[in-house]
């Protein structure tokens, strides 16, 4: 060890200047839960099962078509989906359970869904006192589309008319 100890002095100076800085510009800490950070748009929180609201009747119309793509995509087999065929020959889901305690929030199911029906939101404070209450069903997972598009402005479903117009234009071109 050198008697001058100049390297140690430099280290001490760095730490002291950092300490003085915390009094001038505040510390780096965010005092949770009183202060919270703003989450980015793509944050992978809990799953959302989106539903439209029918403008005429006001009832909830889930977007899910029970195609089982999310069930096949999940690495942990977390989603349970049972379905029936309705009068208009369209399938709809009668049971959609997600075990949020087993889920690893990877987002592969969201990527697999073609119908913009399954998305991930910003909620992460899901702790409970017993495990079975972490299995959420259709009612708890349901989420209105307007709310989702308000918080995720870059992830909107393109409107149907535009898709049809593109299809017509493609057929005319070929």
């Amino acid at each position: 060890m050198n008697i001058p100890g100049i390297g140690i002095m430099r280290g001490l100076k760095v730490v002291l200047s950092e300490m003085v800085q915390t009094y001038i510009r505040g510390a780096f800490t965010v005092q949770y839960p009183e202060e919270r950070l703003e989450l980015p748009e793509r944050f992978r929180g809990r799953l959302l099962w989106l539903y439209d609201v029918d403008p005429k009747t006001g009832e909830k119309v889930p977007r899910c078509t029970a195609c089982q793509a999310c069930v096949r995509a999940c690495p942990q087999s977390v989603i349970t989906l049972e379905s029936e065929r309705g009068e208009d020959k369209k399938r709809f889901a009668t049971r959609f359970d997600v075990d949020l305690g087993l889920c690893m929030y990877c987002g592969l199911c969201v990527e697999a869904c073609n119908f913009y029906a399954l998305k991930m939101g910003h909620e992460f404070e899901l702790a409970t006192y017993d495990r079975p209450s972490l299995i959420w069903g259709m009612e708890e997972l349901s989420y209105p589309v307007e709310e989702y598009e308000r918080t995720h402005p870059h992830d909107k479903k393109p409107p149907e008319k535009k898709k049809k117009a593109e299809k017509v234009a493609k057929e005319a071109a070929s």
């Binding site: 060890m1 280290g11 730490v15 300490m19 510390a27």
Partner: protein, 371 residues
């Protein structure tokens, strides 16, 4: 009510309070043949005051350390319990008191227990001779410095006992390291205190403090004494950091290698005793360094307003505390052989050289008549 009397009282409250208590209360109501008891009661009262101060000081120093180190690390320290975390030490104390007292199965029970009991006393006993202000000293010993330095040797025994009595290889390793470190660093500590004693001509701490005032000696002598004391202060402080087992010399409790070292098997109140002893040791080193080298309670206007002496004293002591915390927050720790090499090969020759220089300088200056 005489305004002058009140102002006089307030200018030196502690000394006047003790006079009022001993003369106006005890001596007035005590029968004549029991006057000897008054001295005993006054000593006991001083002990209670010092003990209470040390306890409260330790409690709040733990909080201050955590907050200061927190600020150095760009975060707040504890700030949830009470405003700015000011009630936090009480929750710490309650937690420590209600924990279960676990003694390992094969451990030597009495050694384990007595180590925890004995470790607290040296630091507390050292505070008896420190002058906290002008005319405020627990006991005026002629050999004050020797007394304190002798006490610092007592801690080594209790640490070895705790390392041995815990029946744990980590604790034993740490006990051996502690013994080696304490022995190695007590020598420069004692030797660095010698220039201050030589310059003041006495080991009584009150005399040492009063000798550092501006007017007592020739100005050349004062500057020479200032430079010598500062150099000796550096050596004393580094040895003091090692004696107090603080970073960068905290091998005994290297908690990232041997997980709390010699107090690994202690819980609850016994752990609290070790914790207290660490802060008592810090206090002893800081106050001794202030008294011997930094001028104790000296400062501007101390003659006219004696209560300022207390203020200056504690300012200097807490500045030294801040430097301890600063070191702890910044520096990695030395390895045991590097620690030993540093003490025996660097600090010891330096301390001896300082004694030599001080002696030569004193003789030269006294010969020139500039004493």
């Amino acid at each position: 009510m005489d305004v002058n009397a009140i102002v006089d009282f307030i200018l030196n409250p502690f000394v006047n309070l003790s006079y009022w208590f001993s003369e106006d209360i005890l001596l007035a109501f005590m029968p004549a043949e029991w006057f000897w008891l008054v001295g005993l009661i006054m000593n006991f009262a001083v002990f209670v005051v010092i003990f209470a101060y040390m306890m409260v000081n330790t409690l709040y120093m733990t909080l201050a350390e955590r907050k200061v180190i927190g600020r150095m690390q760009d975060r707040y320290g504890p700030n949830r319990v009470g405003p700015f975390g000011l009630f936090h030490p009480f929750t710490d104390m309650i937690k420590m008191l209600i924990k279960e007292d676990i003694v390992p199965a094969g451990a030597d029970y009495w050694v384990h227990l007595l180590a925890a009991v004995l470790v607290v006393f040296p630091g507390l006993m050292a505070m008896a001779v420190i002058p906290f202000g002008k005319g405020m000293q627990g006991m005026d010993l002629d050999i004050g410095v020797l007394y304190i330095l002798a006490l610092s040797g007592l801690t080594t025994i209790s640490l070895l006992m705790s390392g041995w009595g815990s029946r744990n290889k980590y604790a034993m390793l740490s006990g051996f390291r502690t013994a080696a470190q304490m022995i190695a660093y007590e020598v420069p500590l004692v030797l660095a205190a010698i220039p201050a004693i030589m310059l003041s001509g006495s080991m009584a701490l009150n005399v040492v403090v009063e000798d550092q005032a501006w007017g007592t000696h020739h100005p050349v002598w004062w500057f020479f004494s200032f430079v010598m004391r500062l150099a000796a202060f550096v050596v004393f402080f580094i040895s003091g950091v090692a004696t107090a087992k603080r970073s960068p010399f905290d091998i005994p409790e290297a908690d990232s290698e041997i997980v709390a070292g010699f107090f690994i098997e202690y819980s609850g109140l016994k752990f609290g005793m070790f914790f207290l002893s660490e802060y008592f040791g810090l206090m002893a080193i800081s106050t001794l360094a202030t008294v011997l080298f930094l001028g104790g309670w000296q400062g501007p206007f101390v003659d006219t307003i004696p209560v300022l002496s207390v203020f200056y004293f504690f300012l200097k002591v807490y500045a030294l505390f801040f430097i301890f915390m600063w070191f702890r927050g910044t520096l990695p720790r030395l390895r045991i052989d590097q620690l030993m090499a540093f003490s025996w090969k660097r600090l010891l020759p330096l301390a001896l050289a300082l004694i030599f220089l001080t002696g030569v300088g004193m003789v030269v200056l006294q010969g020139l008549g500039w004493a």
